[in-house]
Symmetry: C2
Subunit: 258 residues, 2 copies
DNA sequence: TCAACCAAATTTCTATAGAATTTTCCGCTA
DNA sequence: TAGCGGAAAATTCTATAGAAATTTGGTTGA
């Protein structure tokens, strides 16, 4: 049984994230969803820089840290390797790949290709009611005065922005008429949501919410082009949005790790 | 021990591929590479239509068929789900997704986007010596009289065509200056190689090698545009090549399964 | 007849042990 | 000192058992 809470403290010294609280209480793993929970946890650690590029991930150590057996850990590593976050070497385990400015730039280029194509194809095929509702939301978000926010308001602001961001990109993916493309975008989006959440967490720590307002404006431009049924402009706006995100994330990440 | 050769015969009735020969002799799984071998085998069965869309894959049955434990089978299924070939339902296992004309068309659209971008970026960055060598190869392949081939010559023809195809696409991916894009292409290529190998196997059975010659011509156009340092033409030729492949594979596959 | 429900069978999921492989480290030799 | 085995340690990989979840099939009651 790896659930020995006493010994796990000993291991915490090599784990920069978890402070004094015990892992097994911190995360409650549902049976059948351990893999994806471990994946999400590892993913954000990689992007937050707590797991360094080139670092060798040992299943037994991770198993103790997460208080599960090494079987679901292994499965999570395999899935992450499939997503390109890790390299997998047969008989030699998983190695963290570099995620610095260069990598963000590269991922954004690919995402821009796919997301612009999806936007172009989705144009005209999305319900006007939903688009109008999103337009209202982005208008409101854009007009929030980010310099006068109580912590409670800031929290709510971040949550609404995150939800609206997800909704728009999901809507486009679902309406692009190509389910394989939608699925590829879904995978990339998982990467980007981790980027975004790590970045916004930092913003929240610095009480700097300008990026959120900027993003609302960019989203608004996309929605309005979609409402005008203008594929060219919509794709253009999406392209600008992703470029903007690339620049921003490029700044928040370490210059070039490894 | 699932290696009971006697009982596995009983199970063969539900396995359309393996004839009278025993699985455990048919495939020798290297330790540490069982997962990828099982993946490749399952992948080609899906594309060949032996595993039907919607079909529920039971790990224990596959374990017996492949004469390995269910652990690497499970890992293979997880990896295939990550590639989008299967759906994975927590606590409920893997379900084969539909791979009919529609899906091939969709995958080809995505591949065309990525591969054309890679071609444009790779243009000018590939060694002229290697390109010239490939040009020679494709010229020779194009000029083969596909109607007068002994079985031995046909086998060699297919092998050379496959090698040259791999070489060109790998070269472009490696030279596009975006390692994430290269990695995405690598993943798609795994899908396409299975398409291709399944299709060529059928061609081989029908002694019809026209597609191979056509493809050599398409590849030649790409290489020549790359040699002329003409990104626009190169991407155009790549686009035509993938469209052509899409049409061809669309014909060889069942109309729309499921 | 049909829905609800329970028990049995099936299947997934996880932990664990041990085999195979890789890595590390130490003594030895040139 | 540098290079070369070779044993020991660490790690991955696979098989297997049993727990948890789902599916199935039949039975009861309205």
């Amino acid at each position: 049984m790896p659930r020995d809470c006493g010994a796990s403290l000993l291991n915490n010294q090599s784990h920069p994230m978890s402070g004094s609280n015990n892992n097994s209480t911190q995360l409650r793993y549902d049976r059948g969803r351990r893999r994806s929970q471990v994946m999400a946890a590892l993913l954000s650690e990689v992007f937050a820089g707590h797991l360094r590029p080139g670092q060798h991930l040992v299943t037994q150590q991770l198993a103790e840290r997460f208080a599960v057996s090494h079987t679901p850990i292994r499965e999570a590593l395999i899935a992450l390797a499939g997503m390109g976050v890790l390299d997998w070497l047969p008989n030699r385990g998983a190695v963290v790949r570099s995620v610095g400015r260069r990598e963000v730039e590269e991922i954004c280029q690919v995402r821009r290709l796919l997301e612009c194509a999806a936007t172009r194809r989705a144009c005209g095929g999305i319900g006007l009611v939903e688009l109008e509702r999103l337009r209202q939301t982005f208008l409101e978000l854009q007009q929030v005065d980010v310099h006068r926010l109580t912590p409670r308001q800031a929290r709510r602001f971040i949550d609404r922005a995150r939800a609206a961001d997800n909704a728009l990109h999901d809507l486009i993916a679902a309406s692009c008429g190509n389910s394989f493309l939608a699925q590829e975008l879904e995978r990339l989006k998982l990467l980007f949501r981790v980027f975004r959440d790590v970045a916004w967490q930092q913003e929240d720590a610095r009480h700097d919410y300008r990026r959120l307002a900027t993003e609302a404006g960019e989203h608004l431009a996309i929605v309005e082009a979609l409402l005008r049924n203008d594929p060219r402009q919509a794709a253009q706006a999406m392209s600008a949005h992703i470029r903007s995100g690339a620049r921003y994330w490029g700044r928040t990440l370490p210059a070039n790790a490894c």
